[in-house]
């Protein structure tokens, strides 16, 4: 894969903003650890979104003020958080009832690789000896109605994270609905990957050159 030399495309906040814009008013949303967490900061005005964290809270609020952190009020990334008025706490089996039972509308996750058929690999690089850790990712992709992936388009080595077929161990097969990268927004459809939006200064041809799977135009 060619390496992108000049810095074009969206930055992390812009990617998060793009994803946030696609979350309808009234949605129940689970945000993965890392870049997905940024999405919460960009809910468009006039919309109310309820955040679920799989360790037992519906109605996650802002980060607490300095000195007001409670080590028993944390999110799935084990960071201190707050609860909104109208929040509720519950145990893990009830929390995954929400996930596995398809009650959560949207989950935003990071990725190592996404295939053109929507397969997601985001939990293990499969390196021998590496300690595998999966958390709730496999439950989220199996149960949540709509899966958004938010990720840099290329790895640090310049390899496309969008691939024909994942080479890393899968988190789930055919589970991703939409991909937000620094270069474009892609829809995963029955007929393959379609470009929904290109980042500024990114052409379709440029995107295709930097993508390890065939792209289609609407």
């Amino acid at each position: 894969m060619p390496i992108i030399e000049k810095k074009i495309g969206w930055d992390r906040n812009q990617m998060a903003q793009k994803a946030a814009f696609d979350i309808p008013d009234g949605s129940y949303v689970n945000l993965g650890i890392g870049m997905p967490e940024l999405v919460a900061g960009f809910v468009p005005e006039g919309r109310e979104v309820i955040y679920h964290t799989e360790n037992g809270l519906l109605g996650m609020g802002q980060i607490p003020e300095n000195g007001k952190e409670d080590p028993e009020l944390i999110n799935a990334g084990k960071k201190c958080i707050t609860a909104i008025p109208g929040a509720c706490f519950f145990h893990h089996a009830d929390s995954f009832t929400m996930i596995r039972g398809s009650h959560i509308d949207i989950c935003v996750l990071g990725a190592f690789q996404v295939s053109e058929e929507g397969d997601l690999a985001n939990w293990s690089t499969g390196k021998p000896g590496a300690i595998p850790a999966v958390g709730g990712a496999m439950d989220l992709v199996a149960g949540v109605k709509t899966i958004f992936v938010i990720t840099q388009h290329l790895t640090k080595n310049g390899d496309s994270k969008i691939v024909e077929k994942c080479t890393y161990p899968l988190t789930g097969k055919g589970v991703v609905n939409r991909i937000y990268t620094n270069l474009a927004i892609l829809d995963v459809t029955e007929n393959g990957l379609f470009v929904r939006e290109l980042a500024p200064d990114v052409t379709f041809e440029y995107l295709q050159q930097n993508t390890g799977a065939r792209l289609n135009q609407y």
């Binding site: 309820i50 519906l58 706490f89 009832t97 929400m98 596995r100 039972g101 009650h103 199996a142």
Partner: protein
Amino acid sequence: MINKIVKSAEEAVADIFDGAVVLISGFGEAGSPIELIHALIDHGAKDLTVISNNTGSGHVGLAALIENKQVKKMICSFPRTANSTVFPDLYYKKEIELELVPQGTLAERIRAGGAGIPAFFTPSSVNTPLAEGKEARIFDGKTYVMEHAIKADFSLVKCKAADRYGNLTYNKTARNFGPIMCTAANTTIVQAKQIVEPGEIDPEIVVTPGIFVTKVVEVTNPEAESKLVAEDRRYPCQ
């Protein structure tokens, strides 16, 4: 803004369609959403499959819904109740179907439906007529039968307090099937004795998280089924 509160029981049940599968909360009269059921009688949707622990009593509530010929099939654990003649009469005339399910299996099938578990194994009913035709399997030397999840189009549930997010609390043993039924329907319709502001229900004591609820209607003074039955009341009133 999320606001699941609707103005009337009529509006709450308006989308229930002919042939729908409907979970109705309650154990006897405790937790039976009688005002929602009466709204469903006014609404008139028919050929319903109703899942509820019992079949109602007298000529009000669930018994009245059955008497009004809106129910094609009942799935329940105990279709005989004191003061219950409506279901037995139709059953003897073969005008209503019955699927009898052990109470714990009924609860677990509903819970599984809400939790995305399509099937599970249970020791209940093994070696009885209710296990006939069901897949049996041995784990650690003991026999279990496989049971399938129950999912519904609608749930009708009675609770004590609700907020606009649909967070619910219940009253005593009127809780019974309510919390699991809320999780297992595409549309969950709740009647609450009181609607409160978000945050008024301590987040530690919410029994049904709002994510499981679609619509809430306030019914400040719900009728007590046993009182109506004692007065020999009927619905619709005659």
